[in-house]
């Protein structure tokens, strides 16, 4: 069996017993990337020199009997929305094509301290806005299970690099489903922790009240290994929660007795693919066989999740992305050409006797902002900035933003009620399997509806995980979503692990040559 078919947990054991060195393992993954990534295009940048140097340094420490961190020399891929000091971090945007962060994100510091080997930065939808990774300014990542299909998004590169065995562990971010949805479509395990569980310091902001960093991996056990490193309070992020982090890996070995699962009635309605419905129902039966009790529950406001999300997230985005002004960092338009165009516009208006219009033209500074942003952002980012600016503009704030915040409360209350009756909530992660590239590119609303089952966890701030639970007839992966109350990641992981111990969907890997 090839080294790369092992789970991260198995590889860690091999590293610790010195059966394999971190340098050998890292070289094997680099080779796999070299072979397969030209087809999959999961990585925006691979870091061979720094990765091998770090791996050798870890190997030397281990050989000398010195302490080695929890990740012990395992390669980890990082979504390109997380700042890496001295390494370009683009958010898959032309706006940040040459941006070199002057500091590391807290999660990067933690990974380094845990002796992870940072192997590369993965592709994504621009500024994490999208569900297919087609919104990257640089390349479209393919789904390793079918190269004509999208891998999901926005953490499409983060999920695809696992599915093609080009990394054993991967870090993504989830604002409305951006870890869970690509995990489902690529047949891997992906977890969005509770809001506040992982520090957002150094994560380029999209929607600050919803964004959360989390692990993607082959198995729940591997995800627990990575989450244990990522999680914890950080004084540099005032919204990171000062709540004790349990030992997630130890939690997995605890027997899970009397698990009560709730099956969301509303998630089996219109729009759900038949094969996904059948696979999720089979998963519920599997849980019952394993001793869990299942009951139907209702999240009555979940159908308003998408509408609520597509007010709140664009509002926060329009504010967060105001920082890209062509002045402090990021893309700036050609100033000379911009000023010449502005002068020509003014002259033409004056010549036509339209002095009023000439006086109303943009000032040079305003035009610098507008032109830089026009050239630096892609269509979906512009759409969301426009939507958020509109919803927050004078006269509309109460009707859209305030209304959405009230519905957000109702969505949270639905969860609170449900979790009085059950331990975890089960349902499909996505309404459809991976779709063909380009299929939804011209219909933004259809793309937004992809997040139907995932956005409510972000709005309520609870955690959720997607694990493989089957395949369609055309061999595309299906994801099962398990959601747990805030800060109950251990319970969520335990429930997901229970399923993986009894099934082998998670052991399948895409076959690419």
């Amino acid at each position: 069996m090839s080294l790369l078919n092992h789970t991260a947990t198995e590889l860690l054991a091999k590293l610790e017993s010195r059966e394999v060195s971190s340098a050998e393992l890292t070289a094997a993954y680099l080779k796999q990337i070299e072979t397969l990534d030209p087809q999959v295009q999961a990585y925006l940048r691979v870091l061979p020199e720094s990765a091998l140097a770090k791996a050798k340094e870890i190997d030397a420490r281990r050989a000398a009997g010195q302490p080695v961190g929890k990740l012990g020399g395992l390669p980890v891929a990082i979504k390109d929305v997380i700042c890496t000091q001295g390494e370009v971090t683009t958010c898959a945007s032309k706006m940040l094509e040459t941006f070199v962060p002057p500091y590391n994100a807290t999660v990067v510091e933690k990974l380094r301290a845990a002796d992870a080997v940072l192997i590369g930065k993965t592709n994504m939808d621009e500024f994490a806005m999208g569900g297919s990774t087609e919104n990257s300014a640089f390349q479209a990542t393919k789904n390793p299970w079918n190269l004509e299909c999208i891998p999901g998004g926005s953490s499409g590169g983060a999920a695809a690099c696992l599915a093609a065995s080009m990394a054993p562990l991967s870090v993504g971010t989830d604002t409305g489903g951006s870890i869970r949805q690509p995990a489902a479509l690529c047949g891997v395990t992906g977890m969005k922790p509770t809001y506040g569980r992982v520090s957002r310091y150094g994560l380029v902001a999209f929607a600050s009240s919803l964004d959360q960093i989390g692990p993607l991996a082959h198995t729940v056990e591997d995800a627990a290994l990575l989450l244990a490193v990522l999680a914890g309070h950080d004084p540099l992020d005032s919204t990171s929660a000062d709540v004790e982090v349990p030992d997630y890996r130890a939690a997995l070995s605890q027997p899970l007795k009397g698990l009560k699962i709730g099956v969301i009635k509303e998630h089996f309605g219109e729009g759900l693919d038949n094969e996904i419905a059948a696979a999720v129902q089979a998963a519920v039966q599997e849980y019952e066989k394993l001793g869990a009790t299942a009951k139907e529950i209702s999240l009555p406001h979940s159908k308003y999740g998408i509408a609520t999300y597509y007010i709140i997230a664009p509002c926060e985005a329009s504010s967060n992305l105001a920082r890209y002004d062509g002045v402090h960092y990021g893309y700036r338009t050609d100033e000379k050409a911009m000023l010449a165009e502005l002068d020509a516009e003014r002259a033409a208006l004056v010549k036509a006797g339209q002095q009023q219009e000439a006086d109303n033209l943009d000032t040079p500074l305003v035009r610098l902002y507008r032109q830089s942003r026009a050239e630096g952002f892609g269509p979906e980012v512009k759409r969301r900035i426009m939507l958020g600016t509109y919803a927050l503009s004078a006269g509309y704030y109460d009707a859209y933003y305030l209304k959405a915040l009230k519905v957000r409360r109702l969505i949270r209350q639905d969860y609170d009620h449900a979790f009085k009756e059950v331990d975890v909530i089960l349902g499909p992660t996505t309404p459809t399997p991976a779709f063909k590239m380009g299929e939804k590119l011209n219909d933004p609303l259809a793309m937004y509806l992809e997040d139907l089952y995932t956005v409510t966890a972000n709005l309520a701030g609870v955690g959720g995980i997607s694990i493989p639970c089957g395949f369609t007839k055309s061999n595309l992966p299906i994801g099962l979503q398990i959601q747990a109350p805030a800060f109950a990641e251990a319970k969520c992981l335990q429930a997901a692990h229970l399923f993986q111990q009894a099934t082998d969907w998670h052991n399948r890997r895409a076959k690419l040559q």
Binding site: V100, Y304, T308, V327, P364, M386
Partner: protein, 96 residues
């Protein structure tokens, strides 16, 4: 309500985005469709519901009032598209 091209143009100035004629053409109906979609929230009665801006009930997180090192000027300016030794450079803001 229905979004017009004029509304979209006005918002593009507020958003500090310059949109081409072609972008205004495609974006106006797209935004209109999305705005109509989100207006389904009006079906819900939300009088008396407390707005929820944030998932965590955190208030006033204070840091100790102790000086700490911060990013030095050169590092802060290192990604500036246009700068001098101390400042970011922009086109003239006041009259010629």
């Amino acid at each position: 309500m229905t979004l017009t091209r004029r509304d979209v143009e006005k918002v593009s100035l507020l958003a500090r985005l310059r949109l081409s004629a072609a972008e205004l053409e495609t974006m106006t109906p797209q935004l209109d469709k999305i705005v109509h979609f989100v207006e389904q929230l009006n079906e819900l009665h939300t009088d008396g519901v407390e707005p929820m801006a944030h998932a965590l009930d955190l208030r006033n997180i204070f840091a100790d009032d102790e000086p700490r090192p911060s990013l030095d000027r050169d590092a802060a300016l290192s990604n500036a598209p246009k700068r001098d030794d101390e400042c970011y450079r922009v086109p003239a803001v006041l009259g010629e």
